[in-house]
Amino acid sequence: MNRRIIQILFYIIPLPVILASLFIGPSHTATPGAIMDLFLKTSDDSNLIKSIVFDVRLPRILLSFLVGGSLAISGCSVQAIFRNPLTDSYILGLSSGAAFGAALALAYSFLPVQLSAFIFGLLAVSLSYFTARKNKNVSIVSLILSGIIVSGIFTALLTIVQFFSDPFKLQSIVHWTMGNLHNANWEKLRSSVIPITVGVFVIFVYRWRLNVLALGDDEAKTVGINPERDKIIILIAATLASSSAVAVAGIIGLYGLLVPHMIRMVTGPDNQQSIPLNFLFGGTFLLIIDDFSRTISSFEIPIGVFTMLLGAPFFIYLMKKTNIGWNN
């Protein structure tokens, strides 16, 4: 079956893409040939190339992969628990909260930028959640609404910060909000790898339960699942993973919405199959997009721009060609 083959391909492809990405970059010194020499140890004087491959490219590759994977996996889980294929953690206010946190830190430097982005991202999502919560119940519509409201509040606050910033700081804020994988280094990778792994692992463990939750609260309760508790656990895990991703890489627009749909076209909505693929393909796809953005010009184009410009047409193509994955 065609789908099976694609599915197997998705499992195999990350490793070769990661390896190939080591050879891709704008450097004129670290050419693929020179890197081959490095690996085959035929050249001695390769400190610079070594440094480019292992200190610049490798952390960026791994960070892109982790960020892409965590955005996709948390997008998929949030869509399942809120029974809404049009949600991702960004729509619950994560991105605007994180952007505000980052801007605040950039303008007033009271906290490290990543930490501040993380805290405010988490704060925004919990605000959306508790605003929408009524009688121990969170309805889909009220959650989306409160997400829009919370996003609006944080966007307004962001504007205030921008308004009082001088041009230098404003530029930093704008660059941050456009996504900034170019600043990747081992330190960023280290700071994000634990929260992302924890979040991704929890979602992975709950992958089949997402199916039960996706059928609705009553249907989950009567077969022995506490939807309230499970949803909170999954929401915390998804927010942890995606806000850590946002904290180190800035806002990468629509990615958490896009990838789960692409995966669903291959696996169907069964989260037991789609969750691991979301992580693997989400990571690989962002890495490929970043490979483009690293080679296409001599200066850096924000990754967020690329995910939109490359991802959106691809998504539209798939949407027209296949069954998008939900009805009505």
Partner: protein
Amino acid sequence: MSITKTICYCLLFSYTTAFISCRQSVSNTPKSSSTVNVTDFRGVEITLPKPAKRIICLIESALSGIYMLQAENQIIGISSGVYNKSTFAQYAVLDERIKNKTLPAPGNWDFVNIESIVALQPDLVIIWASQTESIESIEKHGIPVYGVLLKSVNDIYKEIHDFGIMTGKSQRADSLISYSRNEISQLRSTIKIAEIEKKNIYFMWTQGLLETAGTTSTVNELIEFAGAKNSCRTSKEHVVINKERLLDWNPDIIVMWYDPLKSPDDIVKLSEIQHIKAIKYKQVYELPSVFLCDLWTLKFPYAIKQLAKWCYPTSTEGLNMDTEKQKMLVKLYGEKGEKLIK
């Protein structure tokens, strides 16, 4: 060798003095026409019936130019940025009204309160040329607007020259311009470097390690005046580069724009760029305070000297940055410059 050098300096100094006094005598001749005419950076001709006496200046670098012209009494409004920025202390020394926060601030670098501007009844508003909407609204009230756009050192000269005319301080403007020109040519004659020996400078903005200035920037001019070469060859003003490019370029020196949060030590510690010459030989420097090194004012020769000193320590041995600073402040700001030194 040092004797030749001293002679050289003496000659240059006497030449400079002669040049300045000559220029002064030229501009001393009284103007016959009473109206004032200049063309701003938008190409718009501005005619004032008489030199402006009520000026609102919403650009910090331009404001410092007006203080250099000693026309501060003609200023009635400034950018609110002056009150919030790190340069506040220096402006407080230059102007009692700023120190006491009594000088109105009807806007900042990108937001303008038209109502406040009109209420102040200015006879001239100085503003960035890119703020087209604000300019349009101000001009609708019949207030002349001078739009500024600085892309090169020559633009700074033009700006100060025009300010001189508009404030009736042409004489001082021209003397300051020739002072700056001289400072630069003097320095250039000191450091004559063969093309291949030119130091490769990577300039780093406050926004981060990878944010630099391309070839069409004031920074690029600064680097070239200092006899060095800009690592970044992209013809853009502000560029975000890829880290591996930086490793490829392998600059001799990294120059940081003033950053209250980061010091050169922080850059030297970055593990991924350890193989760059600038890091290996600890050639990472940070420009001193923004007020001293403002590249968009006549203070830029100071920054050039500082760069030259870092690049070519032997040929600039005679240059003492402390003395240079004092000389510059007194020259540009007059008596108040003395206070600024403290």
